[in-house]
Homo-oligomer: 299 residues x 2
């Protein structure tokens, strides 16, 4: 097999100086989709690329997890890999790999209310590709621009196919004012190739570097216009949004006095384990993309 007969990577990105939208090459629901999750919910998930549960966890469970998350933020070693603090030694913004470090979070990854739906979508056993707690502090929670997680997982981590989903579990209320998760309806159906670097012009290059892995504005506009547009599911502690790894999402800043703390779990199929990153660079650290595959049933 010579180089030019190798199958092309259907999800290449960051190689050209323009964006492109291509059809998703993988099913959204793998396997026959049978299982305990009701068929109408599965169908709505498959169509929209996300599904909101107003009460996935009970208020008491959610309160216990929030307490654990706050203890973790207070006690964690700020210099450890996977602990992200504000510049200047301020508040902890994210703690990664919580499923490996803390039993309460590992247990949640095995919880049937969570993993049953995930297995049903991904068609079989799954493992945690990434887990983290995001602390979006009151008054100065920063915004996250629109992105497809899968684009990054594929290019930077080496995830071969679209066979991963994310659960964003709200440990505090997510309301209109504290920067809730926003998703673009039906955006999971298209893969957006992001603009890459061009070495021709240093100034342009430095402008583009900010856009590295970021979808173009025209691409976003097109995605917003083809479905129902932007949606921001809101709910109390214990509510959760399950979304496809390729669903375009982001969030605005939090200017409200209410912190927004979310637990974020990414499940990948054990048949979709990471290979060499498709972007040709060394993989990111394991707290961002797990390379040691442990099925959730063995966590």
């Amino acid at each position: 097999m010579t180089a030019n007969t190798l199958p092309a990577d259907p999800y290449w990105s960051r190689l050209e100086d323009h964006w492109e939208a291509v059809d998703r090459q993988d099913p959204v629901v793998w396997g026959d989709g049978s299982g305990p999750w009701p068929a109408p919910q599965l169908a709505s998930y498959a169509e929209d690329g996300f599904q909101f549960s107003p009460a996935l966890l009970s208020p008491a469970e959610s309160a216990r997890l929030l307490e654990q998350a706050e203890q973790l933020a207070a006690s964690v070693d700020r210099r450890a890999a996977g602990v992200i603090s504000e510049p200047g030694g301020g508040a902890v913004r994210s703690v990664f790999r919580v499923h490996r470090e803390h039993e309460a979070f590992a247990q949640l990854c095995r919880d049937p209310r969570i993993v049953a739906a995930v297995r049903q979508i991904l068609g079989g056993e799954v493992y945690i590709h990434q887990s983290r707690i995001n602390y979006k502090p009151a008054f100065n929670g920063k915004e996250f621009f629109w992105h497809s997680d899968f684009e990054t997982w594929h290019v930077e981590d080496g995830m071969p196919r679209m066979r991963a989903v994310s659960f964003s579990i709200n440990l505090t209320e997510n309301n209109e004012f504290n920067g809730p998760l926003m998703v673009v309806d039906k955006s999971h159906e298209l893969y957006i190739r992001c603009v890459g670097e061009t070495p021709d012009d240093h100034f342009q290059q430095s402008l583009r570097r900010q856009e590295y892995g970021v979808p173009s504005r025209d691409a976003l506009q097109m995605l917003v216009e083809r479905g129902r547009g932007i949606e921001a599911p809101k709910g109390g502690p214990g509510s959760a949004t399950l979304f496809d790894g390729n669903t375009m999402h982001g969030s605005v800043g939090n200017l409200s006095p209410a912190p927004r703390t979310n637990l974020f779990l990414v499940f990948n199929s054990v048949e979709n384990r990471l290979v060499e990153p498709f972007g040709g660079k060394p993989p990111r650290p394991e707290f961002l993309g797990e390379r040691d595959v442990v099925p959730v049933s063995q966590l």
Copy 2:
């Protein structure tokens, strides 16, 4: 009269290293409040510090003004005082003093639907203290942190009393996703003294400098908790929010594909014209705080 018998400035700010909330020393509604604006609306405005009109202008009027605003952004001299562009020569973010430059906007300042309510609140003839168009572009409209305009007008421009109101007129739809105006209910009742500079420690000083004229987080929390909290009135083109000059307000970034363009008119009583700034520094440029008082009836 010697210095220590001068009446103290009730609205001093930025002088101490801690914040303070004090009662407003001025009425919200000056005079007897009589006039064409219905009493229940006036009462609700007085109580909340703001009033939303879902259809102040007709869609056709609003569309015409948006067209004017867009022509203005395209034709204006980027280097002129009162024209604020994005860093790097990008989009125009704000054009100030539009009531002096453009008949369509001057006419709006005299429009009975606008000025009648303003005169009724402020008890007599008014002039434009500041006017501007804010262009909050799609995808990268920046956030504005919470602030009381009056605090700045008093300290930096020399506005003596709380006798000014703002009309924020939506020329495009303001929705959940394009960074709508957010107000804190009943915040107009209290004056928040902001933290000032402390020359003791350079590092602390540089941290504080970012906070110059910005209310402390504890102050904001207290304000949010004492009323109905944060509200973000939303509406189509032609909707408008009238709010007291001391009402705490802000807005998050715009990550949506819909630009948010607002016309912002600040009316001050002709009996409340500017004096020397109470912060002791020279006044800001006139496009930010008009010193040439022209009653709106003579615009």
